[in-house]
Subunit: 286 residues, 2 copies
């Protein structure tokens, strides 16, 4: 029988029936049904479909070693956050999106080190503990941190003016599960708008801003890795993050202090900011 | 309220509510719903979603001026053919997919010219008429033709060994609506398998072959442009085209002839093939 509006989906599903990997077959079967349903509902013209192909091609061609435009597209459609949410672990700190800027390895640092390699902005001290769901500290947990600078740029976005590794650090918690590092207060910032995703946001009158945050990936043996952010309380755009990543439980006060003694103890100059919070990992399923 | 499995879709739909172009808003609203429904149904792991992003990135990065891997992906998922089918015009020759090889302009030719610029294979004569739905001939209609050679390759796939424009031609019908050109019998062929779409076909045990065909785009003032193929009767893979493009009404006999006189009249040597068919355009909607 000819391929037509009514036989189309079954014909394509049948073509995948010999797929050896059952999960791949399940994914392609569902993909076929949902993409065909989208097309049947919206009935794109041939020209509209060509424009969709041109858009996806441009998204792929905007990707480089230091830029991931497809992650950005997934982010602004809320898909990254939906996937993250469906994989959420019970009992731990809430997770949020990885984002497109975790593309280089963070440099190893000792506890207390500064990940701010420039040293011009107001200092910020970040400290806390990595715990399990029962509240027990997890020594020697790996804490991978990355953030933009006080102007809103990641190191990989400014290879000319920021040193590589600026705003990134890989730490190990101490015997009490503590982590501590010095940095600058990250700024809110626009996601890159000079590519096809930026054109999409512009055409839909959406702003490209993300509220200020620090990224974390926390890992410890026997626990599910946690990918999350800590958001800066009071930052603009906490209620309209372009990538839908804010959870109320992840908003933390970055209090300003003028206390010279506290600054000296922390190895910074006053005034400075200080954020203190715990990151809780869920046990791996038995 | 936090973004979660239940609020996700509405949150993203709301983000598009200020889109000035109502059609773009409609498309993005539907895209959001269908992509989210796919994710909710299949619950991909974070790693699976990363693999999907890597696949789409590779598809985009495989595209060049002479290769369109996203069209190929749309083709093997039956989406191109579904879009084509939903845009089908009543009363004309059936349409089928454009395919990824219409990326260079066809050279202008006079009726009767050969589009085979190599001249080593058995010749083939293709002729017919462009008609309207009432059977009236359409003079001066534009007939754009492209095909692979007798070994299954398009000119753009073999820039070293095929002259540019080989297998392509732009013709105008004569006063009786007739077209006529010389060529070679196209072969069945595999779609390109050295990219991510080829890896997808391999992982799903799908063969990459298309039955032998000649592409046409026919245009005349006042009529809806027709994008279609003529398939060679008896070709392998007519029942399992990798891109789902076969319609029974488009299969044509390419009869072999040993008739020396007929060959001489047609400007070819015997034995030769001959296919004769009409292409019917639908009137533009009033």
């Amino acid at each position: 029988m000819d391929f037509n509006e009514h036989t189309a989906t079954e014909a394509v599903q049948n073509s995948f029936r010999e797929t050896p990997d059952p999960r791949l077959r399940e994914l392609l079967d569902a993909l076929t049904r949902h993409v065909h349903a989208f097309v049947r509902e919206t009935r794109p013209s041939v020209r509209e479909w060509e424009q969709a192909i041109e858009f996806l091609t441009a998204v792929g061609q905007t990707c480089t070693d230091t830029r991931q435009e497809f992650v950005l597209l997934s982010d602004v459609l809320g898909v990254s956050m939906l996937v993250e949410t469906l994989n959420e672990q019970e009992g731990g700190t809430e997770s949020t999106v990885l984002g497109p800027f975790h593309m280089v390895e963070s440099p190893q640092h000792a506890l207390g080190d500064s990940i701010d390699l420039v040293g011009e902005a107001e200092p910020c001290v970040v400290s806390g503990r990595v715990l399990n769901a029962d509240g027990a500290p997890l020594p020697h947990a790996q804490v991978d941190v990355w953030q933009c600078d006080e102007k809103g740029f990641y190191d990989v976005q400014q290879p000319g003016s920021q040193p590589p590794g600026n705003g990134r650090g890989l730490f190990r918690t101490d015997a009490e599960g503590r982590f501590r590092f010095r940095t600058v207060l990250p700024s809110h910032y626009p996601i890159p708008t000079d590519g096809p995703v930026g054109r999409l946001l512009n055409a839909t009158r959406r702003h490209p801003y993300r509220p200020a945050h620090i990224h974390f990936i926390v890992q410890a043996d026997g626990y599910v890795p946690l990918t999350t952010h800590i958001f800066v309380a009071g930052s603009p755009y906490l209620d309209s993050d372009a990538v839908f990543a804010v959870k109320q439980s992840l908003i933390v006060d970055f209090a300003r202090s003028d206390d010279e003694e506290a600054a000296e103890r922390a190895g910074v100059r006053a005034p400075f900011r200080h954020a203190e919070f715990d990151l809780v990992l869920s046990s791996e399923p038995a």
